[in-house]
Amino acid sequence: MINMTEWGFIFGGEFVFLITMALEIRRTPVLYGEDAKRFLKEIEHPEQFKDSRSKEELLAIMEKTKRIWAEYHASKNDRP
């Protein structure tokens, strides 16, 4: 039989956390009907997401990103 302390742990700890997370994961979107058609049409034209910056500016952002990850991987910060 589960005593009060154990019930307290179950309802106060990971159990509640897992239920919350399960509810969150359930929100993964599925598009139907007109929304699906619109979405499929939109993604045929990825240029609407085009960044207004020049290629040089975008490459600079990518270089900056690479430097951040290189520093991260070289450190101990990526240990699980």
Partner: protein, 197 residues
Amino acid sequence: MIDLDKDCLIVKVSYENTIGSFDCGNADLNEFFIADSPKYHRQLLGETYFFVEKSTQRVVCAYTLSNDGIKTFDLPNSRKKKVREAVPREKHMKSFPATLIGRLGVSKEFANQGLGSQLMEFVKASCLYEEGNRCRFLIVDAYNQPEVIQYYLKNKFIFLFSTEDQEKQYFGMDESHPIKTRFMYFDLLDLGRQLFG
């Protein structure tokens, strides 16, 4: 102005590396980053990263990413239930790989320095750099508040559902209740083409 590259270090959250103190002005986000993100990590539900200012060790901003997808079921709403029963699901289903921005916040101490945009640039570039060609979209279930929606629109995200009513209908919400979050997405394809040809 603080620079994520020059002034900060990125750290991945785990039980050993937790976010001790953080205030982005939203109590739910703060609680998630401080208390829940290590559990999220341990349950393999998502990875949280945070940037720490090198000189002061203060947490500047944080974000959580998870694997996700966008699925389309190409039938009119009125017919979907009937057809679902008769036709195998796979015939109509298309699934696109996506990365979900589960949480994202900038510390109030570093607000109004353009860090939100810097962080989003970094997240987009990281998806292309770290994920390679395995992820087409970034998606976010954004708080339906003007400043939050404006932030994502400014960063070229667009709404996944055309109207709030469509989104409410999809999630089976009462139409009279305000919708708290809106799904938005960003297509990484064009950025990838601009960068890598």
